[in-house]
Subunit: 251 residues, 2 copies
């Protein structure tokens, strides 16, 4: 595979992009019966640089409803991330549903404003050429509001329907929610888990509502949860990451 | 390693027990500088039976602050679970803290009642000989209260201070929170991630407060979050699992 230079925060490729890249490698699905990544856990070992890399595959189990694989991104002989993904078929799942995670109140995308490049603290962000973010202009995430929470509309540049791989990118696309706590530095991810709950049902504009929340930062280690809803208000993904809050900007 | 028969729900060894078993295998730590499992992700492939099994190790990275390893539990040549763990030193972490996850109001352990064996629906539960659970007698989890939430005091049988490995067991020790939704069947875990946030600071009784919450069950697939606090009310662990709600009891 090739690690692209155009999904980066500073010089570092975005973690959600890397997770989607490796999930897609060797075929976006685990066979025709298991097209969807249901649950993906990623441990980040070292940041790759843009350029060629290898994906090493270890099949773990091909079951009736879930096929699980481990994949490793390797560059110059050194592992950069280790990913385990369970693939299944979201359309084939059956059984009871009960959801108490309603989308937060938010202005429509047309009344929201693009990402404020000041968030990046002077760091070049090619990532924001690939992902469009729209914030409530009265509550931009740079205000240090002390909430631990950031909400935005998000889509891949140009719009269009989003699949599960786009969800993995968009669930990790917002500014770190600790910016609301007055911590604008680099927040590298140690571990990220994404659960895809449903295929997004949406039209051409392709906006998804994403909320990222910090509830517990302990000794600069933060667990941040994110939820993603489609245009109809259906919960389509949940993610959680452990990250370390650094005081310096991304390199 | 030996998979014990005495941590089972029905015939199936408990998932948190298996995660702790494999995390501890080959040494409970990743060297003297990284004694604590900070973040552990487990994908469950098939249930092992009590008896001998092997743990296969793949070192991933020995870093300055985190050492990451992948481990696989193999029985009769077949992988049963794949675990990736990042080890570090909780005592050495430094930086800002901000926690908005207070422990829920709960009667003291002495005023609470043991687990109601009816929860197990006739299924033998050796697990409840190893783990003690105490519930608010006015709000037992079997009532189908429709809350999606179960709270209990929990400790390893006999009490005593709990370390990070015990946290991995106790974070997955409560009855599935979907019992409150009137779903008493077997809820096998597909994926479990545990983040250990602090070493518990507590005395001999060793009770930890555990809350498990379902916010989104979609087509019988449930994401359940759990938080664990020590006796002083300090958040010591957070976990999240993806599980499938079945209508039949555990085998």
């Amino acid at each position: 595979v090739t690690v692209a230079a155009r999904w980066s925060i500073g010089e570092r490729p975005n973690g959600g992009y890397l997770a989607a890249l490796v999930t897609r490698a060797l075929g976006a699905a685990a066979g025709p019966d298991h097209p969807d990544p249901l649950t993906v856990s990623v441990h980040y070992l070292r940041s790759p640089v843009p350029g060629p890399a290898e994906v090493h595959l270890e099949p773990l189990r091909a079951g009736r409803t879930v096929t699980t694989v481990a994949r490793r991104l390797v560059q110059d002989g050194r592992p950069c991330l280790h990913l385990v993904a369970g693939f299944g078929d979201l359309a084939a799942a059956e059984g009871p549903s009960w959801v108490r995670l309603p989308p937060p109140a938010m202005l429509p995308p047309g009344d929201c404003a693009p990402a404020d490049p000041r968030l990046a603290d002077g760091v070049p962000m090619s990532f924001l050429d690939r992902v469009e973010l729209r914030f409530d202009p009265s509550a931009p995430p740079s205000t240090g509001a002390g909430t631990g929470e950031v909400t935005a509309w998000a889509r891949l540049a140009g719009g269009g329907p989003a699949g599960p791989l786009a969800l993995m990118v968009l669930a990790d696309a917002l500014p770190p929610s600790v910016v609301t706590l007055g911590l604008p530095g680099w927040v590298p991810t140690l571990e990220l888990t994404v659960h895809v709950r449903a295929r997004p049902d949406q039209g051409e504009p392709g906006w998804l509502l994403v909320r990222a929340t910090t509830r517990a930062m302990v000794d600069a280690h933060v667990v941040e949860d994110a939820e993603v809803w489609d245009e109809r208000g259906t919960l389509v993904a949940q993610s959680r990451q452990l990250a370390r809050v650094l005081t310096r900007p991304a390199p």
